[in-house]
């Protein structure tokens, strides 16, 4: 069975737990283990938080997730406006208050990519996770 989720969300803080819990419910329904679900939830939470924290009023963002028994592929698509997806490239200093989101996504998922959208303003954060446990 393949499950595809596409959500368009307002860039406010309340959207992040909603997205995380929605995706988690789908993965649970597919029988994915809690450990793998936690990794995906963290990466998704980080990507959403990044969009939200650089929001301009009234803008939206999209989350697309495709999952089957083997793999979960997630994209978080920032529609631009405001400051688009400000990812600090390097590692944050150990006691910095910010700048760890990308490090966490990379640590807990696979095939992490950040790209500018080709035909429109904004950026795409892409990550994947093998679901085999």
């Amino acid at each position: 069975m393949e499950v595809v989720l596409e959500m368009t969300l307002p860039r406010n803080a309340e959207s992040a737990p909603l997205v995380r819990h929605t995706l988690d419910a789908s993965l649970r329904g597919l029988g994915v283990t809690p450990e793998i679900r936690a990794d995906i939830a963290l990466a998704l939470g980080e990507a959403c938080a990044n969009v939200i924290q650089h929001a301009a009023a009234g803008m939206e963002y999209e989350v697309r997730a495709r999952m089957d028994g083997l793999r979960c592929v997630v994209e978080v698509i920032d529609g631009g406006g405001g400051d688009s997806a400000q990812w600090g490239g390097g590692r944050a200093p150990l006691t910095a208050e910010h700048g760890r989101g990308l490090q966490l996504i990379r640590a807990f998922t696979e095939d992490v990519r950040i790209a500018d959208r080709v035909t429109r303003e904004g950026s795409v954060v892409h990550f994947e996770k093998s679901l085999a446990s």
């Binding site: 803080a13 309340e14 992040a16 737990p17 995380r20 450990e35 936690a38 990794d39 939830a41 963290l42 939470g45 980080e46 959403c48 938080a49 939200i52 924290q53 150990l94 006691t95 910095a96 208050e97 910010h98 700048g99 760890r100 989101g101 490090q103 966490l104 640590a107 807990f108």
Partner: protein, 98 residues
């Protein structure tokens, strides 16, 4: 003190306000029980580090106890176990403070 639920971009601002309020009211040694925390992301870590800096300026301390594997994993991956003590149990965390 015990925290519960998700610590994320939605809840972190309130947590920061609460913890900074404790420090402003005179608390100097914070021990945070994470056993009830289901989710912790980098915005939550940012709160902890902000509070840590405040406590450091006041010669205080901050330590953590317990927590599910995913929450503890976030501390390890970011190497914040080099900044904060992350104890297995609350009793262990409280020993240096008694």
């Amino acid at each position: 003190m015990a925290l519960t639920g998700d610590i994320d971009v939605e809840t972190s601002p309130r947590l920061r306000e609460f913890l900074i309020g404790l420090v402003d009211a005179g608390a100097r040694h914070l021990v945070i029980d994470l056993d009830g925390v289901a989710f912790l992301d980098s915005t939550g870590l940012g709160v902890m580090i902000g509070v840590f800096h405040r406590l450091g300026a006041a010669n205080g301390s901050m330590a953590f106890a317990g927590g599910p594997a995913a929450v503890r994993g976030v501390f390890h991956v970011t190497q914040l176990t080099r900044v904060f003590a992350l104890h297995d149990t609350l009793d262990q965390a409280l020993l240096p403070v008694r």
